[in-house]
């Protein structure tokens, strides 16, 4: 590891750590913070990047790759099916219409039709990275406009596959050798297929896609199962990273976008029980690399080129943004979005996306067009991306307050992902009984468990069980803790239970927690931690046994049952009283001593405390006595 690398990392991280909080504080959002930081440290700012700067973009594109993997993971087939209307209709029309109009304009500006078509296709795409991040930060993902944005972005991401396949067919209008591609997806290197004729390349693309789908379906799950069985978390993280990197490499070898490959793998894995775990493992890497990506976009804005042709670049930026904006707005109205939601969509998506970097590089490499066309457009793309957060702020602050219909994300019932009201952590005998009761009564439960074998077995019975360590914040987020109402803790150790209680209290104060406890000690700890619903796992069972014992000894069934009810209530009360009294004793008593001290305390209280005569109403004895007195008196 060279000192140069460390210095680079230092510069990037410093820039991020300084700029992003400031931007967030000013309400500008993290994306703009990263972009500005990138400009500041870039070659046209402080110039801190040195020679390594060019590679960073390449490296950071991995953030986009990972993000698409995560986007894919979110896309269960069922969800895709539900959104099929907006995806195909709105998304499809957006891509087709924008491509057509942009290509026509480019053709009229003098490009040959092949180049015009290629440019049109590229400009039709928007930035999944920036838009999703910005919408999520504003809590707009689940509003109607947010969902429409998501659908359009998704169609665009998918549309890249045929675009990549079509590009080789459009080649032939430039004779020059490929210029220096800007921040490409490793296409600069010769790939396995670059020597093949166009039809064979197209075939290779299709074959690679098929390979990912089949591999994901039949190979990845057994592998993850085996890895999960080792119960080594870091191994799971490593496997997840290996998967993403491996697919990226494979895709590059056949000349396809790594982002698309991992996106596909994500979709294939979306239904697997390891989805939540994968999500939370990849998430931090994605976040970091995506930040780096935004930094790199900022740093890569070529101010020399812009200053050389300021009017051309400016005109192109405005032209592209206005064109995309208008088409988006028109389509949103056709699809009957409310005015403010239509505007949200139009203000969110008018930039050109990160795939443009990939596609311009690919186009140059495939000799669809040359650098004289690609380079100014790459600058246009970067600027349009940088403008997006500003446009969003403009929309939020100026436009939105003026449009009549206000729809907040909170009111929107049509969530992207249907969430269950109950999360059950731990699905052994205890948790599964709770889950079965709830399900039998039509209550949906999301189950988290970290025993791979059990997850596997339960899945075979058609249960929604996910593999993961439930006491982790990110996993809870992934499982929908923000939308859920109840959190049922049925984990197998008190330590993990308490961990989870603390995490939940800190991050999800709205969640009502119902916790299984093992014994008094544990119940005390949970009560102390502020969990009101605590259930000692052996209590009800032992009382049922005790009830039967009383019956076998000749007690009437109802009397025995009432006695157990009385005892249960009394016992619950005394645990709570004792919790209050324990206080500082716990500090100097060992746990084992504490257990005995508690037992002594409780046994002592039993002798005096239980109000066994609670059913006085059924006791006719005092009545008889009273009656006797009255009779005596009247006699």
């Amino acid at each position: 590891m060279s000192g140069d690398f460390l210095f680079q990392a230092f510069v990037y991280l410093t820039a991020a750590v300084i700029a992003v909080p400031i931007a967030a504080r000013l309400g500008l959002g993290s994306v703009l913070g990263y972009l500005i930081a990138g400009v500041v440290i870039g070659p046209f700012g402080l110039g801190l990047l040195g020679e390594g700067g060019e590679d960073i973009m390449h490296f950071a594109e991995f953030g986009v790759v990972m993000m698409l993997f995560l986007v894919g993971l979110e896309l269960e087939p069922a969800l895709l099916w539900r959104l099929r209307g907006p995806i195909l209709g709105l998304g499809g029309l957006q891509v087709v219409v924008t491509t057509a109009v942009a290509a026509t304009v480019a053709y009229l500006l003098g490009l040959p039709w092949q180049q015009a078509l290629a440019v049109g296709m590229i400009l039709a795409l928007s930035s999944t990275a920036i838009v999703l991040q910005s919408l999520a930060e504003r809590g707009q993902l689940k509003s109607a406009g947010g969902q429409a944005s998501f659908a359009v972005l998704l169609f665009q991401d998918i549309a890249v596959i045929p675009m990549l396949a079509i590009f080789p067919l459009l080649a032939g209008t430039v004779a020059t050798a490929p210029g220096d591609a800007h921040g490409a997806d490793a296409h600069a290197a010769t790939t396995l297929v670059s020597g093949l004729p166009p039809w064979a390349q197209t075939l290779a693309v299709l074959a690679a896609v098929a390979a990912i789908i089949l591999g994901g379906r039949f190979l990845l799950r057994p592998v993850f199962r085996a890895i999960a069985a080792t119960r080594l978390r870091e191994l799971f993280v490593a496997t997840a990273l290996l998967l993403v990197i491996g697919i990226a490499l494979l895709m590059n070898q056949v000349g396809l976008s790594a982002a698309l490959g991992t996106f596909l793998a994500g979709v294939v894995l979306a239904n697997s029980e390891y989805r939540h775990e994968l999500e939370s493992d990849i998430e931090p890497f994605k976040g970091l690399l995506l930040g780096l990506f935004f930094l790199a976009v900022g740093a890569s804005i070529n101010f020399a080129l812009i200053l050389a042709q300021p009017l051309l670049i400016l005109g192109l930026v405005i032209g592209v943004v206005v064109l995309k904006f208008t088409i988006l707005l028109a389509l949103a109205k056709v699809f009957r979005l409310g005015t403010d939601q239509a505007l949200l969509l139009a203000f969110a998506l008018p930039q050109v996306g990160e795939f443009a970097f990939v596609l311009f590089a690919f186009g140059v490499q495939e000799q669809v067009f040359d650098g004289s066309v690609a380079d100014p457009l790459v600058a246009v793309v970067a600027i349009s991306m940088a403008l997006t957060p500003l446009l969003m702020i403009f929309f939020e602050r100026v436009i939105r307050p003026r449009v009549g219909t206000k729809e907040t994300a909170a009111q929107e019932p049509d969530a992207i992902d249907e969430r269950n009201p109950v999360i059950i952590a731990g699905f052994g005998g205890f948790g599964s009984t709770v889950g079965r009761l709830l399900r039998a009564n039509g209550v949906g439960v999301t189950v988290l468990d970290n025993d791979a074998d059990r997850v596997d077995a339960l899945r075979r019975f058609g249960l929604q069980v996910y593999y993961g360590d439930a006491s982790r914040y990110d996993l809870l987020i992934a499982a929908g803790a923000q939308e859920a109402k109840l959190l049922v803790l049925a984990l197998d150790t008190p330590e993990r239970t308490l961990d989870l209680v603390h995490t939940a209290h800190k991050h999800f104060p709205h969640l009502q927690i119902l916790a299984r406890a093992f014994d008094w000690q544990d119940a005390h700890d949970l009560l102390d931690a502020g969990v009101p619903y605590v259930y000692r796992e052996t209590l009800d069972t032992s009382l049922r046994l005790g009830t039967d014992a009383l019956r076998l000894l000749g007690f009437r069934a109802y009397q025995a049952q009432r006695a157990a009810q009385t005892f249960l209530r009394y016992d619950e009360e005394s645990v709570r009283t004792l919790t209050g009294q324990r206080g500082d004793r716990t500090v100097y008593l060992l746990a084992a001593r504490q257990r005995i001290a508690d037992l002594e305390h409780i046994l002592q209280a039993d002798l005096t405390g239980i109000d066994l005569a609670r059913d006085d109403g059924w006791d006719a004895e005092p009545l008889r006595a009273d009656f006797a007195r009255v009779v005596e008196k009247t006699d």
């Binding site: 009432r562 009810q565 209530r569 609670r614 059913d615 006085d616 109403g617 059924w618 006791d619 005092p622 009545l623 009273d626 007195r629 009255v630």
Partner: protein, 209 residues
């Protein structure tokens, strides 16, 4: 001001049409304590001390329930057996309820005409409720004529809405002491006393105070 305690007993409120509506009215009425017995004691494990304390704090005790087999749902009977303890509610030492008032508000599937001598149910509802009337007497409570929502099976949503209106007026009037309990005593039912039409479909007059 009369402090009202409603002891409500319905084992399947989720299936109810009439009481579900009434409950909504009662729950948001100021000056009224609503005690949902089946919700508080799903295992019939009644907290006798709590119930007695509640009784002590109120002047008018309302038993509200659907008529089941010419009587109350089971939990309300359990409640009577356990809460009205000898030595507390009755007996030579039991005076806790003395001077309070008791009112029954119930719904019945049968129509008013069916509850007549010689008719389908052979007795009046007032007659069926005799055990409770006598219980009130034994505990030293004044027994008000019951308020009855007849023909529950045939009530339309409009009818139920109207019933809820009467229910609200009666409770408010009693709470605000706008009704003289002594003057009510002569009537068979509160419906008669207040000229509330019990039947379905006939126009109903508003409750007059």
């Amino acid at each position: 001001m009369t402090r009202i305690l409603i002891l409500f007993a319905h084992p399947a409120l989720e299936k109810s049409r009439v009481h579900r509506r009434l409950v909504r009215v009662a729950q948001e009425m100021p000056g009224v304590t609503f005690n949902d017995l089946y919700e508080a004691y799903p295992t019939f494990d009644i907290d006798v001390r709590r119930e007695q304390a509640l009784l002590a704090e109120h002047d008018l005790i309302v038993l509200q329930h659907p008529l089941y087999w010419y009587s109350t749902p089971a939990l309300l009977k359990q409640w009577q057996d356990l809460v009205l303890e000898h030595g507390w509610a009755y007996g030579s030492q039991g005076h806790a309820l003395r001077g309070k008032r008791l009112l029954i508000i119930l719904s019945a599937g049968g129509r008013a005409e069916a509850y007549q001598p010689g008719a389908f149910n052979r007795f009046t509802i007032r007659e069926f409720l005799a055990p409770i009337e006598q219980t009130a007497y034994l505990c030293g409570m004044a027994y008000l004529p019951p308020l009855i929502f007849h023909g529950a099976h045939r009530m339309t949503l409009d009818d139920i809405g109207q019933a809820a209106g009467h229910y609200r007026h009666v409770l408010e009037a009693l709470r605000d002491d706008a009704l003289d309990p002594a003057a009510l005593g002569a009537w068979q039912t509160l419906n008669d006393a207040l000229n509330i039409m019990p039947m379905i479909g006939k126009s109903t007059q508003a409750v007059t105070q």
